[in-house]
């Protein structure tokens, strides 16, 4: 007699319940958000969504999206959100207006679902049963954090679909599509450039099914690295990236370059965030203006070399050692390293690696050993909670918690992240 099937078993037995509940949850959050926005002075909608929609309105009126202060994104995002600017047409129903205004959120939520679908495919391709593939995809699809961020109108969900699609294109050897996605991804949010070395390293001759002759001389070995598929990926992704930038620069001139790219170099990221560098950055940005002698404060310029450990890990060491063994986990580790070692770190960035989590977790140490998994989760949450508590005291109660509270909390969170990253790396065999 077969064992009685549990509710969870039946839920994951077919695709419909999972995707339907993912969609219904998003719709419910979205409608709730509309209600809260209309009835409370405290808004559900993310402030960034108002930036996007304002920018879209500027574009609709033939102006530059950069006419909106703090619009620091590619114009493509404002174009995608153009329907949000069609509201308020004479005689239209308010519900239709609300629908149009939310169309960007619908797009982000739809992107979530597509990313989930791609995750399921990627998992199935690794000889997983459809049932467990759906279970792991549910980590993304039914994740309340993901649902909230998308329905509040943050564009990170688009990154999720771009990265999963990139991974899918690469593993199914659709090089041109992969190049297009990589070039567009970097144009869209810069950070996906870290995936380029991993993908290039991964797609060697053996993998791409065109093994060359065994090489002996070192020149020949170097030359043999430049396989047709690697060159194809490089050409397609670079020309996509450069082409898009050229078009945008032609249309919007310097503000495009300034806001989308240069801003990230020149910005003083002093406002408190999870980054371990935050307190140091605040102090360093103030040093030139401080009149009191600061001989007490040694001045290692760590903020100006912070990119070194970050890029060394995420672009060189992790791809080099891991990419050929397990591409999805490599990309997860790269993203995790990039976010952990970044000079700015907010919870939206966590979405960047969360989308890759379902591909790593099956068979990971964290799932094999429950105590390990639970303590990692508990530490990750606890360090954040400690930081948030200190941040709350600073932001809302006006207590000077910069030192030692926020600083030590951000360092603790950093160390927890490093430990988790170490375990992830150790799992790649």
């Amino acid at each position: 007699m077969p064992p009685p099937r549990s509710l969870a078993d039946r839920f994951f037995a077919s695709r419909l319940p999972l995707y339907l509940s993912a969609a219904v949850l998003r719709a419910a959050f979205l409608v709730y958000g509309l209600w809260q926005d209309a009835n409370s002075p405290f808004k559900y909608t993310d402030i960034d969504y108002l930036v996007f929609t304002d920018a879209a309105r500027f574009v609709a009126h033939g102006q530059s999206p950069y006419a909106r202060e703090t619009y620091r994104y590619t114009p493509v995002l404002a174009w995608l959100l153009l329907p949000t600017s069609w509201t308020g047409g004479g005689g239209t129903h308010p519900l239709w207006d609300a629908f149009l205004f939310s169309s960007g959120k619908l797009l982000f939520a739809a992107a979530d679902l597509v990313a989930g679908c791609l995750l399921e495919r990627l998992l199935l391709a690794r000889a997983m049963t459809p049932r467990s593939a759906r279970q792991f995809a549910a980590i993304w699809l039914l994740n309340p954090m993901v649902i909230t961020i998308s329905t509040r109108g943050s564009s990170e969900g688009l990154l999720g679909v771009l990265v999963t699609a990139l991974l899918w294109a690469v593993t199914t050897q659709q090089i041109t599509l992969a190049g297009l996605l990589l070039g567009f991804g970097v144009h869209f949010k810069i950070y996906p450039f870290i995936y380029a070395p991993a993908i290039v390293w991964w797609m060697d001759r053996e993998r791409m099914g065109s093994p060359g002759k065994p090489t002996t001389t070192s020149t020949a070995r170097v030359l043999s690295f430049f396989t047709p598929s690697r060159l194809q990926l490089a050409v397609v992704s670079l020309s996509t990236f450069l082409g898009l930038n050229l078009v945008m620069f032609k249309m919007y001139k310097t503000p495009f370059l300034q806001e989308t790219y240069l801003h990230h170099i020149s910005r003083v990221d002093h406002r408190h965030n999870f980054s371990p560098y935050n307190t140091q950055l605040y102090l360093a940005s103030a040093l030139p203006s401080l009149s009191t002698p600061t001989t007490l404060l040694p001045t290692l310029p760590i903020e100006s070399i912070a990119f070194l450990p970050q890029l060394l890990l995420s672009c060189v060491l992790i791809p080099l050692v891991l990419a050929k063994k397990d591409l999805p986990t490599t990309m997860l580790a790269q993203t995790f390293a990039f976010v952990t070692f970044n000079k700015v770190c907010t919870s939206q960035y966590f979405l960047w690696y969360m989308v890759l989590l379902p591909l790593y977790l099956p068979g990971s140490s964290f799932l094999r050993s429950k105590p390990l998994g639970l303590s990692a989760l508990a530490l990750w949450v606890a360090a954040q909670a400690a930081w948030l508590q200190q941040g709350y005291e600073l932001e809302f109660l006006g207590v000077s918690t910069f030192l030692p509270g926020l600083w030590t909390a951000s360092l603790a969170f950093f160390l927890v992240n490093c430990w988790i990253l170490g375990v992830v790396i150790g799992d790649v065999r």
Partner: protein, 501 residues
């Protein structure tokens, strides 16, 4: 050079002409409850060379200092501004806005004026709104005029002229000082205002200065119209008249007394997003049968700002008893710390929303203004201080169609907010009256990075990042040692590794 000394009393407080003793170039009289206003008009070529040159480079220049100590005043000297140092400026043709000269001179004369150049430190005023606004604005808190008095004593008084230094020292007690120049009048007007209190009537004319003395009081004349003010009293030209002559006249005025008060305080806890609460003593519009609406005009130092995007949501505004953000100077950086900001700060005009029309008017009410602090410089002890000047609060009422407001002898124009309204707007001023103390500023304690505890930040951050980096690198090395960089499933590990295992 001309001088006008005016004592203005309240309605019904006039004195008899016999109470004034005129003898030669001197007039004296009894103690009166009055505001005193001295106005000195100086032709350009009578000024010291450096001031002369500076003004020649200006099309219009208005410096207005207002005391941070609350003061009482009487009609018609009612126009109010937030306390501090205000500057409204239109450069002359061909004048370089990136020159440090104006700021250097201001710093020399007023002390601690933290501007560098008009281009960097000033904000542009809209020139598309209404009439006569200058092109630039500058503001900063300034506690007193001691530097200015010191400068004026050494630069303007002939050596050994004791009466000159005494006159200048009396500026230490003024509540407001205006210094105005424009190319049309080609003269510099210096106007000082002493607050409403008991003071003796006394004036001595300088031989080279034509001095006119007025002892006036607020008056309701029979022919006065709604938008007019009346004045009556005694006028004497010193050294010329042997007795005062009486006068009575009325004139249209844009600045009126709303006969109510307000105070401003930050709601506790303040945090980094403090809310400034305005408590107004009355919700009764000063005029009936015409449209009136209360406004608050802020000059916010660069350490604190209002977010125009936050102030664009109707529900949010309504919850705070606000109607709309009518004007905010541009640009306002929403992220930069205070210490890297170049512009002086921002000016903000908010239309306030009194409680909905109820049966009973004249009730006290409050409104809340959400503000945001910038990060300030790290300091010993972990806290910095910011003093936010009270706003100018007034009811803006529309005067009848066709009403004209020609400049009257007591008029102040170019106040920052007057140019944001139409020419027929009358400003009914609400008097700032703090609940405790007498300062018309709201203090706020700002958490900053504590320098006393900052000694380990640099080394500590470096050590922790290095430790994290080494741990991750070690894990990568272990993987490499165990299985190389290739695909373990497909290729055997490098030979060297094999031996060690």
């Amino acid at each position: 050079m001309r001088e006008r000394i005016t004592f203005i009393q309240k309605l019904g407080d006039s004195i008899e002409s016999s109470a004034l003793q005129v003898s030669g170039s001197q007039v004296s009289g009894p103690d009166v409850q009055a505001v005193r206003e001295d106005r000195l008009t100086v032709a350009l070529d009578e000024l010291p060379t450096e001031l002369h040159l500076l003004l020649k480079g200006s099309h219009e220049l208005h410096i207005r200092w207002v005391s941070p100590v609350a003061y009482g005043t009487v009609s018609p000297l009612l126009a109010r501004l937030p306390p501090g140092f205000h500057l409204f400026f239109t450069p002359g043709k061909g004048v370089d806005a990136t020159s440090t000269k104006l700021c250097a001179t201001l710093n020399q004369t007023f002390g601690n004026i933290a501007c560098s150049t008009p281009a960097a430190s000033f904000t542009s005023l809209p020139n598309d709104r209404f009439y006569h606004a200058t092109s630039f604005q500058y503001f900063q808190p300034l506690e007193d005029l001691s530097s200015f008095i010191q400068y004026a004593k050494t630069q303007l008084c002939p050596s050994g002229d004791a009466s000159c230094t005494t006159r200048l020292e009396s500026l230490a007690k003024v509540s407001a000082l205006d210094i105005s120049y424009d190319t049309i009048s080609h003269a510099l007007k210096v106007t000082a205002l002493w607050p409403y209190q008991s003071r003796p009537i006394h004036a001595v004319a300088h031989p080279k200065v034509r001095t006119e003395l007025g002892v006036l009081s607020d008056e309701k004349t029979p022919t006065m119209e709604d938008h007019e003010l009346g004045i009556s009293g005694l006028l004497t030209v010193l050294g010329q008249d042997t007795q005062p002559s009486s006068t009575m006249f009325s004139f249209p005025s844009r600045h009126r007394d709303a006969q109510s008060t307000f105070s401003a305080q930050f709601l506790s806890p303040t945090g980094l997003h403090p809310t400034l609460q305005l408590q107004l003593s009355s919700d009764k519009p000063p005029m009936e049968n015409t449209f009136c609406s209360p406004h608050a005009y802020f000059t916010l130092p660069r350490s604190i700002f209002a977010d125009k995007y936050q102030l664009s949501d109707d529900l949010f505004l309504a919850a705070k008893n606000l109607t709309a953000l009518r004007y905010i100077s541009q640009p306002v950086d929403l992220e930069a710390p205070e210490y890297v900001m170049k512009p002086w700060g921002s000016s903000v005009l908010l239309e306030l929303a009194p409680p909905p029309a109820s049966a009973e008017k004249g009730q006290p009410w409050t409104t809340e203004i959400p503000l945001h602090l910038r990060y300030l410089l790290p300091a010993h002890g972990g806290y910095g201080n910011v003093e936010v000047p009270y706003p100018a609060v007034f009811w803006a009422c529309a005067a009848e169609e066709g009403t004209k407001f020609p400049t009257n002898p007591f008029e102040r124009v170019n106040l920052g907010y007057d140019g944001l309204f139409g020419p027929r707007t009358v400003f009914w001023h609400v008097e700032p009256r703090p609940q405790t103390g007498n300062r018309v500023t709201s203090a706020i304690r700002v958490p900053v990075l504590d320098l006393d505890k900052a000694g380990w930040v640099n080394v500590g951050t470096a050590a922790v990042v290095l430790a994290g980096f080494l741990w991750v690198t070690w894990k990568l090395v272990s993987v490499y040692l165990a299985s190389g960089y290739g695909n373990a499933a497909r290729t055997p590990p490098p030979a060297g590794e094999k031996k060690r295992q």
